[in-house]
Symmetry: C2
């Protein structure tokens, strides 16, 4: 990597916080152009390990969910600017988990029992991760949570994403992508966490392949960008690791996008359980880590079409 500047700062994983708050003291001060390394915990803060079972879900503390590493004060960043964040490299840990957490997820009303799937994956990313001998999921590590402090004072939950980013769970905020976030406070106050080894659009069961990682990014202040919402630019194609055999796609059709999304995912779980014999819990978790929710049409009033695309490659 000729010309790659040295790391200006490493933000260690003991520097995490829960929730967004402009009053949290920055742990580092960076300059525009600096390359930074964030050591990120997984969304459960390391609660699970290779010996965990679904019984360990009950002892998860929801108030401790989704710790993020930071915040970093970026010199020169002011409200109305954008913080440009180039994702340079992710260093996955090799251990991951996917869970059905009661009360959480798109079909929480239909999946009330806790379930846990552990992943022991190849950190080089060359081999797909094996899912219960029924599927192989190509990896594409990315950042689930990357955000800035909101202007509004007080502590804000880390679960919902906001205009300043946060828990956006966009599967393409991966190596090579450049993200632009609206700055609302002086210094921007950047934090990163909730890294994932793979996920489809929607994160339908509520969890991805949740996995601790170290993340290298380069930050830059863009003066006066005046963004309304975050945007990003990918470094290349986003589905070629998984699209070679095409897709099975189920639909939901009706006047409510949420209901249509739920119908499309339910239909895919029905189809997968029927055709492969896998359990509904497994199908739901597998859909979350590799299938995509797309809005096929949103103009033929009063009924919209949401489609759930499942990549056939993962079934072999």
């Amino acid at each position: 990597m000729t010309g790659k500047p040295p790391l200006a700062h490493t933000i260690h994983k003991n520097c995490t916080h829960l929730g967004w708050d402009r009053a949290i003291e920055p742990v580092r001060v960076a300059r525009s152009g600096d390359r930074l390394l964030f050591e990120c915990k997984d969304a459960a803060g390391g609660h699970f390990d290779a010996s965990s079972t679904a019984d360990d879900i009950g002892s998860l503390n929801p108030d401790a969910a989704n710790p993020v590493t930071g915040p970093v004060f970026v010199e020169g960043a002011e409200p109305g600017d954008a913080l440009k964040i180039r994702i340079d490299t992710l260093h996955p840990s090799g251990f991951g988990w996917t869970a059905i957490l009661p009360g959480f997820g798109l079909l929480a009303d239909q999946f009330g029992e806790p379930a846990l799937k552990l992943w022991d994956y190849d950190v080089s990313g060359n081999r797909p991760a094996v899912f219960s001998d029924i599927a192989k999921v190509p990896l594409r590590p990315f950042i689930g949570t990357v955000g800035l402090a909101p202007a509004a004072s007080g502590r804000h939950s880390v679960i919902p994403p906001r205009r300043v980013g946060g828990n956006m769970d966009i599967r393409d905020i991966s190596a090579g992508t450049t993200l632009y976030l609206p700055v609302e406070v002086e210094g921007a106050l950047l934090s990163i966490g909730d890294t994932h080894a793979a996920q489809g659009d929607g994160e339908v069961c509520g969890t991805a392949i949740e996995s601790a990682m170290d993340v290298e990014v380069t930050v830059e202040v863009v003066k006066g960008a005046a963004l309304k919402t975050p945007y990003f630019e990918t470094g290349g194609p986003v589905s070629r690791h998984i699209d070679a055999k095409g897709f099975l796609a189920t639909t939901g059709i009706g006047p409510d996008l949420m209901a249509a999304a739920r119908d499309s995912v339910s239909a895919m779980i029905d189809l997968l359980t029927k055709t492969t014999g896998m359990s509904a819990n497994d199908a739901y978790m597998l859909c979350s880590v590799c299938g995509d929710l797309r809005i096929s049409e949103i103009v033929d009033a009063p009924n919209w079409v949401v489609s759930f695309y499942f990549p056939k490659l993962v079934l072999g």
Copy 2:
């Protein structure tokens, strides 16, 4: 094409109907396994030609929109079965149009003036279609409307899609895809129309590259399939014709998926007009023919993320 069976029927474009109605007399009777050719008009029934301008939009008759060719009675199809429809080949006409129709489209409140873009494209599909010297759109012809007669008696508008299919505008119902539709009436009563030369997920301005085409399909009855909604299987990857240079993606974040979808498309129009100088009308139409609406996350309550992906390839 060794082994391709001869066409069992050609359904000519004089055999079109407006709206879905189980009482419409079938124009052909097909057997399960038959290969059929449907001559399809465009969504405006041929209203526009190479000399048309936006002034011709006012004389469009909305009651004559979206004529479909058919219906075809398929022997053996009964309520509770599925009709399997393999899309074999599309023969595009080379002429197409994209319009902003006042009162129609995702941002109808922001785009009140009619606009019309004409396309004269390469029917081989080897060359992208040129958009006002500012963009080149790779073609991927597909069927916008493919559906069966609903069980409920009476005439049903052809605009909204339903459980039995219809105007689904799913961009991947293209050559090589196999579609499964729930049958609600004896003989299924299949009709096809509203062919498109290219479109992104969402069809955000309300129109695609609307274009008359002949379509070859093979139909088969699947007994007792008991589908709730349509599903399909693609013959291979769905975005490789357009993804080589990656994507620009804008976001909408909030508790309402429709508002988030609108915000993401508005943000992309702002970004394209600012960075390329194209007009907002052009950006809106271009987004509709090549950009994709994806639901990035739908679980981090109370805020969801909808992202609009614009392929950088089309800008050169």
